[in-house]
Subunit: 449 residues, 2 copies
C-alpha cells in the first residue's frame, strides 16, 4: 500500500488526516481536496475512513462544517429555479415515526404563493420515508427528470421527487462509507449530508424539523439542538433563510404508521380533519415556511394563512393536482378506501389499567419495519398496505383489554413479533404522567418572529 | 458498499468499530476476529482504518493491548528454540541516531552463556537500522532461512537476521495501513507491533531500550515511559522476563552515524575501546540482559560479567565468528579500514565559540539520510560508506573554526545540504549547560535488581 500520488495540488492526504486526528481545523481548500478526491476515487476509501473517524471523535469548527457542506453540494448538480419568479422554500425532517407532514405541507405552502421543490428520501431503520409513502399511491412517480420536475413545479408550485444521481454524488459516496465504518453518528457529518442535498434543490429558504425523543435519531434534546444550530448556521452562511423547530418524537405523530395509512391520514388533514397533533404540527411548520419564504409578515400571520388555506379546500385540491401531474391515480385521493390495504387486523390490547406514561416510540417504528412497511437494508422492498393504527397516546387512560393499537397485516403469524414489540412499547402506570411534552420544544431562529 | 459477510462468527465489524469509537473495550475474541479478518483480507481496509483511528483517539486497556499483541503474534510463525538448552534473551530499541548497541550486545551476551536470537529491522526516517549496518560488511547475509538461523544460533549462541515473511503477517498488513492513514502514532499500536514481532523469536526474556529526547520518536520522556510500561506489562502477561531502560537520545550515541562507520565503532567497543557513552550503554544493556536471562544474580554482577567478557576479547571473537557464519567477509572485521568508505571528507566548523548546549539530534539522523545513508521510503537503497563523525557533543567546549562534525561523502556538492543541516543542529552558548542528562533516565522493572 503506497501513498497515492498527488496531482495538481500541494496537499498530502496523510497530512490532512493527521491534522484532524490531532484536533486541528482544515481549510476550505483542504476539505474540498478531500471531498473531490473521494468522489472521483483518487483518494482511497481507507484514507477517507480514517479521516471520517477522526472527524467523529475530534469534531469540526463551524467553518469546516460549512466548507464540507459546500464541497459536497458542489460535487454535483445544483438546481437553478430562477425561471420561477416566486420564492422557493422547503422543509426537512430528521426523521421519526408517523412523521408525514411533507405530504400536507408541499401543497399547502404552494397554495400560499411559494414554490416547494421537495427532494425527499426513503425510509431507513425505524423511520419512514416520504418517497415510500407517495409510492403507495398507484402510479405515483418519484423518479422525475429535472425538466419534468421543473414542469410540475411551474404548473402546481410543488413537486416531490427522489434524489437524482447527479445531486451531491459526494454524499452518496461518503454516506456509503460512513454506513460501514461506524462514522454516521457525527452532527457535523449529518449536517453536511442533509444540507448538501437540500441546498442542491435551489431553495431560498429551508425550515428544519429536528425531532427529539424516544422515536428520534437524537434521543437527547441537547443533541437535537446542537445539530439544529449547526444546520441553521451552515444554511445562513450560504445565504439561505433558515430556522429549525425542535419537535417532540416521544410518541408517533398522528395515529397512523405505515405507508398507505399515512397517506390516508394526510388526506384527512388536508380535508380539515385528522388527529390534533399532526394537524397542529402541519400548521406550525406551514406558518414558518410562509414566514421564511416571505409570504407572511409574522409566524402568527403565517399560521392564520395556513388555517385559511386548509379550510378553503385548496390545499387538498393542490395535492390532488400534484399527484395527477406525477402520474398517480387520483381515484385513491378522492376515495382513500382504494389505497392499498390489508384484509387482516390484529388488536394489541392492554394488559393493565391506568394511564399511558411512556411509549418506546422507536419500537413502534421497528414494529412497522418487521411487518414489511419499512427497510432494514436499502435494497429491501416495502409493503405499502401494512402498518399500525395507534389508538392510545401519551396521557390517555386505558382499561384492561382495551386496544392500544391495531396492526394492519396479512395474517396472525405475520403480526406476532410486531404485536409483542408493541405490547412492550407501552408503559402504563396507575397515575397520569406529571407533565405533557409540548409539540414544539424549541425554536432555533436568529431574529424576531 | 455493503457490509462484508460474516462467517463462522457472531461478530459484526461495524459493532466492533462503534464499540471502540464510543470508548469501550473489546474482548480478546473480538480483537482476534479483527486481526484475523484483516490478515486474511476478509475485512476491508476501510473498516480497519476506521477502527485504527478510533484506537488512536480512544486508546486501549492493558487487556486489549495484550490481546492485540497475542493475535498479531499468532497470525504467523512463532519460533520454537526449545532445542537449545540455554535461556534466550533479546534486546529491542525504539530507534535513535548512532544507536548501534545490538552489534556489540549479541556476541557479548552469547559469550555469557545465553542465546540471542535477534530479528532486527531496517532504518526508516531519521533512525538507522541494524540490518543496514550489518550489510555494510561485504557478504553478510541477513536473509537466513529458519534452519540456517537455528544452525548459527546453535554454533555461536547469537544470530542477527531480518524479519521473515512468515513472522507476524498481521503486523505487516496493519503497519502498511497505519502508514497511510495517520494511525502510526499510538502507544498501544506501537506496542503490539513491536512485541508481536519480538515475541515471535521464541525468546524467554526481552530488554527494551526506549529512547527519549531530540533524536527519538518519543521526544517527551513521559511518552517513552508510557510506552515502556505498556510493553513490559504486555510481555509479562505472555510469561516473558521483561525490563525497559529509558535512555537518552538528545545527541547521537557514540561518535559515528552511518552504516560502515557504526560497524567500525562497534568493533572498537568490542576491543575494549570506543566512545565512553556507547561503551557504557552497551555494558548497562548487557548487564540487564544477563540479569533477565538468569546469567547473573544482580544487574551489578551482570555488569561486571560484561566488562570481563569485553576485556577478555571473547566478545570480539564471537562477533567475528557470527559474521563468518552469516557469510560476511571477516577481513573487514580484522581490519576495519577495509570497510566501505568514502574518499571525500567535509568538515562542519563552528561559527561560534562557547559550549554545546543542545543538539537537534533528529536532524543529525536526517543529514545522514540525505547523504544516502538511510531511507526516506522503504524501497530506497542505502549507501554503506557515507556518514557523519561527531566530534563535539553536549557540554563540549568549542572555539571558532573548530570542527563540530566531519561528513564522509563523495563530493562537496553532495555534502552541501547535509552540511547546512548539521550547522543548524548545534546550539552553542557562552556558558556550559546547567546539567547533563544521564545516559539511563529511568528503569522500568517490576521487582528488585
Amino acid at each position: 500500500m503506497s501513498q497515492p500520488s498527488v496531482s495538481q495540488s500541494s496537499f498530502r492526504v496523510i497530512d490532512l488526516i493527521r491534522k484532524k486526528r490531532d484536533g486541528g481545523a482544515l481549510s476550505p481548500a483542504e476539505i474540498e481536496y478531500l471531498v473531490d478526491g473521494c468522489t472521483q476515487g483518487s483518494i482511497p476509501d481507507y484514507q477517507m475512513a480514517a479521516w471520517l473517524m477522526a472527524v467523529v471523535l475530534r469534531g469540526m469548527t463551524r467553518e469546516e462544517t460549512a466548507a464540507l457542506t459546500h464541497a459536497m453540494l458542489h460535487s454535483g448538480e445544483v438546481l437553478d429555479l430562477g425561471f420561477l419568479p416566486a420564492r422557493k422554500v422547503d422543509k426537512h425532517s430528521t426523521g421519526g415515526v408517523g412523521d408525514k407532514t411533507s405530504l400536507v405541507l408541499a401543497p399547502l405552502v404552494a397554495v400560499g404563493g411559494l414554490v416547494v421543490p421537495m427532494i425527499s428520501g426513503r425510509g431507513l431503520g425505524h423511520t419512514g420515508g416520504t418517497l415510500d409513502k407517495l409510492e403507495s399511491i398507484p402510479g405515483f412517480r418519484v423518479g422525475l427528470t429535472v425538466p419534468e420536475f421543473h414542469r410540475v413545479l411551474k404548473a402546481s408550485g410543488c413537486c416531490m421527487i427522489g434524489q437524482t444521481e447527479k445531486i451531491a454524488p459526494a454524499d452518496r459516496k461518503l454516506y456509503a462509507l460512513r454506513d460501514v465504518t461506524g462514522t454516521v453518528e457525527s452532527p457535523y457529518l449529518i449536517c453536511a449530508s442533509i444540507m448538501s442535498k437540500k441546498l442542491a434543490e435551489g431553495t431560498d429558504a429551508l425550515l428544519l424539523d429536528v425531532k427529539t425523543g424516544s422515536g428520534a435519531f437524537m434521543k437527547k434534546e441537547e443533541d437535537a439542538v446542537f445539530l439544529a444550530e449547526l444546520m441553521v448556521e451552515t444554511g445562513e452562511r450560504m445565504g439561505k433563510q433558515m430556522a429549525a423547530l425542535i419537535t417532540d418524537m416521544n410518541q408517533p405523530l398522528g395515529r397512523m404508521v405505515g405507508n398507505a395509512l399515512e397517506v390516508q391520514e394526510c388526506i384527512e388533514v388536508l380535508h380539515g380533519g385528522g388527529p390534533p397533533d399532526l394537524r397542529e404540527l402541519c400548521l406550525e411548520l406551514g406558518a414558518w415556511m410562509f414566514y421564511l419564504g416571505g409570504a407572511s409578515k409574522t409566524v402568527t400571520e403565517g399560521k392564520q394563512l395556513a388555517e385559511q388555506i386548509i379550510a378553503s379546500g385548496k390545499a387538498f385540491d393542490r395535492f390532488r393536482q400534484m399527484v395527477e401531474f406525477q402520474g398517480g391515480d387520483v381515484r385513491v385521493i378522492d376515495d382513500p378506501a382504494r389505497l392499498p390495504a390489508t384484509k387482516h387486523r390484529v388488536e394489541v390490547a392492554s394488559h393493565l389499567a391506568g394511564y399511558v406514561t411512556a411509549i418506546a416510540c422507536e419500537q413502534i417504528g421497528t414494529a412497522c419495519v418487521i411487518l414489511g412497511g419499512g427497510r432494514e437494508r436499502k435494497e429491501d422492498s416495502v409493503d405499502p398496505a401494512v402498518g399500525i393504527v395507534v389508538h392510545k397516546k401519551l396521557g390517555d387512560k386505558v382499561s384492561i383489554g382495551e386496544p392500544l393499537c391495531t396492526i394492519h397485516c396479512h395474517s396472525d403469524a405475520q403480526a406476532a413479533p410486531a404485536k409483542q414489540l408493541l405490547e412492550e412499547s407501552y408503559e402504563i402506570m396507575p397515575t397520569p404522567p406529571a407533565h405533557k411534552q409540548p409539540l414544539v420544544h424549541r425554536v432555533i431562529y436568529k431574529g424576531q418572529f
